[in-house]
Symmetry: D4
Subunit: 252 residues, 8 copies
């Protein structure tokens, strides 16, 4: 598609409709808007099949609201804002339609009505404390148009809890396995299911959990095939990737 | 399906065809064969859509040959053996049909004729030294029935090399990005393509690369969406997961 | 016992008292209650010889009180709550009988009268600052029905303090050795006694103690036989394991 | 007992049978023999219920043989030598009765006939490569007079293999869980059994397993109660501790 | 020059204008003023071509103001104060001419009028959150008499943003590449430009970014030639070094 | 001396003045007082040539005051309290004579008049921010009866400052070198002086200083002979050891 | 310049001399030659002012010789090969003019006669063992057309050795400071000279030097201004960067 | 003394006996000889009270022999060579009088007859495997003119072995405590003796000993006063420092 655009551009130069200098400018034309504090990429939805996502951490409420407004003006909907403090959410909600969840700190601005979906993603967690990360993953996936099944508090130290939900796990198209502490959940699930498993280590724990390092290493060393890992506490990344995989069409 | 089997079993108890004691034994019957030094899982192909894979490291040539023989006797083909030393390959080749690649140290026993495939996987690498890991990934994916395009030596310090192959990258269904040193390849590719990217850090480098830790951390911290990571040098894991994703059918 | 239950179930299918489908449901029936934010395992006392323990950290006072109420309704007593903030304790105490200790932050809900015990556990500590972890261990062990002797502030830099208590140490059935800083206490005690020693590193210290890592490594490297280690600051885990060992009956 | 000895000594001073100076010497008399390169502790069997153990690593064959000879001269049998290279074993075998196992590198000098035992210890392992550590644990426990059941290659990525051996696991008095890579075996077993679990991380793995660190952290962070950990690859330590626990008598 | 001074001094001794004792004192005369809490180096401007810089962190407002006053009294202008809290800036501003920037926390006391400059330094950043470090670098370089071009929010996950500014990057005499997370910016820029690149890792990120370690390692492992690295968040150091390089004269 | 006491005791048993049982109790008699929260060692001054030192961190004001009172009652003076918060100092000062320094957080209770001393200790520091640790060292040494010369802010990046104080450094009997950041001060001083150098890494710095680890490693790797290291920020330990060395008498 | 080329290309399309399709191909034409195992960048000398450098580690002698031949055929001279084993050098020397140094393992193929140079680079080292890294830096710089002064074995533990060479250090345009162990050399030199200092940590040392980590951290934490750091043992990188800086022309 | 020399020099300038230029040269005259590969410091014996020490690691036999010859020619005796391989020792022994110990790999060239000494140093070790480091310390101290008492194999897991040697420990003027694994020896000895304790961590151990890091951290965190630490395996450094302390004269 990019190649098509380039050839089209060159054809217009060939036909004299465009001077070489104009073409150069056009080739360089940034498909983003510069707000000073941020460059917004309005074509990303086109290129990557999803709207821009705003990483809310380290941004002021005013900056978030400004980016939302700019994106909305460009026609974007279902704008995902992650790691948004309640205070920032309150501010943004005054200026835009916002659906905010305080547990995951995820906001969806200008939410679109859901499209019905065939396959689904499972978000599984080791313990109650992992819920903020789980919900970041789940809500991201939902905002991107996926059905999500939550299977929480099924840590491996009580295997019967996990086995009781085996049916839903085995029917998933992707599983997101969220766990802190020893992070064994990803391996155990990876050995049970036949679909891709995205492991998310969390910083939940104490002592030798080292802020998620223990779970991260466990997951990277998983003996189960089909498991890959994202950054500690990166629920968004897992939800986004799960959506990509769940929405794959059959190769043609 | 597992549920179906259980119900069938219980029905046979109901009908008197099976005593409760026999059923218990049957429920426990291991779907694996015990060779003493290893338990071989003959049903795994059924459950997970792929034959058993043999991790050759730390196994004697005799053990590998024994496992291959047992699997072949059970009807398996396309048996993948990773991390197999040339010496072990020579031994196994005497007792079984073996297709062995010395660079990746991957062997395929009783290789099946390839099935034509529509979509393809790209394996991209930062530098020449990453080739063993790349080939482990590529050959695994090929043995599992995928078409693979190799895009090697396109490290980010010479961006024009990578951009020159942008067309093949953008048409891939999955990209495996293999890199040592600073591991930036995954992020750069992740920002360019719209499909899942599986990042494989390699232990290539010296000094502060710390045997792959630098690349691993880089990849975990990727700002690009759709990137997940497997263990250092784990070409097999990446190839296996890429195959899972590439072969996904549309959700129904 | 589990096997007995399964056979019984299968017999009822055989006799027609149960349909195969009902049996399947029954086999899957979760031995836990789902409170939404947590799944409570009412059978654990039966399976593991102790009531459920509530890890209070990261739970709201309301959640703790809810779990206690649910467990109490199922007949549980001596419910141990660890890492409970004073504020949460005050809340729970309004709704349940609670025995709370502010140093260890351990609460016991619906405490049962103590059963006299023959053997005893020693909890030994290196310094005054380790007391919260010591008391978490000691109170856990006591709640599980053990007699505990406290031998505190006997760090190895003043060996005569430790030797003065040698008699009680040598009569113990299990010793819990709690220490931060250089963590040498476990090795020294391990060399003196003939019973299992459970080492608990604490995060007490500064500089190169790295939040307990120094003590942890020391303890893992103990040259004394019979020493094993639990997580940094994990007084509960040590108390629980010590109880298991102390209450062992002679093999028959 | 030690107190009894001291009082006896003091009584002999009181009675004039011993001068104070002689008593002082006697109080200091080392209960070990000094071979120059090592001090052998002949009373340890008495104090700790087991013969001295020889850590063979970093000792010359001559040194090992010398220590064995000295211990045997003092009446010791069942002398355990760990980490003994085959070459050293060959040398020692020329001078002493030696039962040597090349996989675990454990030798037993002057083995005593086994005493029948009631309870048993389970040694469980994640994979075939963990076998040297497993056998070090198993053979240590056997030499100390315990019955050992081996449950090998039951890693959590193939849960059905583990569940198939649940009966033997649930009847054990102590379980030694040996695993490298992600080390999840200890947590999963810890959640299933009601007896103490001794976790042994192994250095088996590659990449982010960091020579056993990943498994070690996993095990320390286990959510299952009753799990404690020994040093990486420390099969001996686990076997020794398991023996202590298995041989406990009921408290009186 | 130092040698010239020493010879001059010795000549004055030779001529009798100075006694040996006076010369010794003079040789030792400290080219700094001792304020008790700090020793101020008034000759540094001469020796190193720049005024003393005040590292504001861990200094009281009174101490900063005192040092500024002492330096100003010695004739210094363009005094750079880094890591100065707003509160300290408010205090200092009462006693001295101060140009303070709250984002970078850099203050310039007694700013001199800018000298026009031919070449320029580019400060490039991966994301909005890196701005404080960027501005510390940029303002330091400006205060030292350099022209600075800011190229912000051009992280490698959106390569077109970076390529759109390629012209300014390629005309720079030095580039300062500031990035957190995976830190790939330095490598990508290093491969595109032909001038020195100073990489500044930032502590921006979460999880496995480990407070800037991930970016630091990435940058140290850069495959691009001409890249060197300063401490995490050390914008000042990068700005200072960039100034040194930008102001180099042709070798004669 | 301890031997003398033991022989005396045994003589009294021999003479019948003491029964063996009484002697046993006496041999075990603890030379410390048990306050419940701490065991105070009144004989330490005798055994180690210095009064007990109170580590104030993690102790309540009441506990500190209690220990001071108990020690004072036993005749101790010059009682050193380290890491004492201003609030605790205010409390203790109400109940005891206290000389408190807010920078180092060191208090001396019941200070004794200084004894004149011949040799002296130098405390040298890299920068102003290291002062709290320096003063902890200096005040500890002074309280133990030593003369201390302070040579502050002589970091190696401005070598002339250090060289200007070379005379006092070279006349010292011990040097305490306190530095954060790159910690090079210890090596440079170690190469200049002929007396023992005690290196104290401090947690001062940012980024890759990792809370003092960088300075600690530097100091451990010092190429200069005669340098040894204490824990990060352990000014007390350095002052105590320096006092031991400074007060050594000639061997006889 | 790149812009000029693009405009020229577009003009040829405008004039009809080139079809759009041909232009697209031309825009994509890779300025590198693909040897299969490597992509050689023949334009790099033009773009970055230096010929391609071959990183010899992990390449076979045949591969190195092949790359040299390809580059030489394109007109390149002064081809730098780093980390080349003596065996590889012997092989390459048979097929090309090669100047090889066994200490630094640097080879220069088709060396060009030196151009006289005005300014010079100093390579300074802490100890004799750092020489391989020093020589890699020095020979790289020389091959790139710089004069190099070697100031070796001037570690900070013997400051007079360094001060004796102060004159040459102070006249340098760039200093490369190479040191292992505590790495203090960079800070001390950085405080003495007024030019950029490139610090190269080396893996020389033992124990807590951790393969160069100690020196690396020291150098990153340098308090001296104007110091930046390259990877452990990266002599080449330092030499290359030093050349860039030394050859800067005055800004115009 | 240095001041005296400088004043003398200046007086000679004053008197005309020396021109300023000659004085400058003289002030700079290096008190070392340059062998090309090393700069030998012949005055060090004078300045620091001991002959130059040769760190043999990474030096060729020829280089060592050359340095020894140069030092001997300058009148040095008792030249200590550490970390010298047997092969190098054999070479050096052909050209110089050499007393070489294969365990510690320490050689003394041109050994001087011992001077009788009053006080003594104790070298204590945790286990047999630490002996090479112990002997490096002991032989260094002996070569520097000290009496050394060896107290080996007294690890804290068998406390009675250590207590049996308490008398010699308590009479020492300095103790060097050498231990790997958990490194507790330094703390235990530090609590028993009243003299300085130099702790030497060794790389002996396996698993979580991490090449000596565990022992190093233990020792740095020692609660005992009077303990300081040198680098892992740095027996030489400990022996050198112990000699400094042991040979201190009373302050005058």
């Amino acid at each position: 598609m990019e190649q098509m655009k380039t050839i089209e551009l060159l054809r217009r130069v060939q036909s004299g409709a465009l001077s070489p200098e104009e073409a150069l400018v056009s080739l360089k034309l940034q498909p983003f808007e510069d707000l000073g504090y941020a460059k917004i990429d309005h074509h990303r939805g086109v290129r990557q099949g999803a709207a821009e996502v705003i990483f809310g951490q380290n941004k002021t409420p005013e900056q978030i609201a400004g980016i939302v407004a700019s994106m909305h003006a460009s026609g974007a909907g279902n704008i995902i804002i992650t790691r948004m403090a309640p205070k920032a959410a309150a501010f943004v909600a005054k200026e835009a339609e916002l659906d905010y969840d305080a547990v995951s700190r995820v906001g969806i601005a200008y939410r679109q009505p859901d499209t019905p979906q065939a396959g689904f993603i499972v978000v599984a967690s080791g313990g109650t404390s992992d819920m903020p990360v789980c919900e970041e993953a789940a809500r991201t996936a939902e905002a991107l148009g996926n059905r999500v099944e939550r299977v929480y508090d099924v840590g491996v130290a009580g295997l019967h809890r996990l086995l009781a939900r085996l049916d839903v796990l085995m029917r998933a198209r992707v599983v997101i396995a969220v766990a802190g502490m020893e992070g064994a959940l990803a391996s155990v699930i990876g050995g049970l299911v036949a679909c891709p498993v995205i492991a998310v280590p969390t910083s939940v724990g104490y002592g030798a959990s080292f802020g998620g390092v223990s779970a991260l290493l466990s997951m990277l060393n998983s003996c189960a095939s089909g498991v890959s890992v994202v950054n500690i506490d990166n629920g968004f990344g897992a939800g986004y990737l799960a959506s990509m995989i769940n929405q794959m069409e059959a190769a043609t």
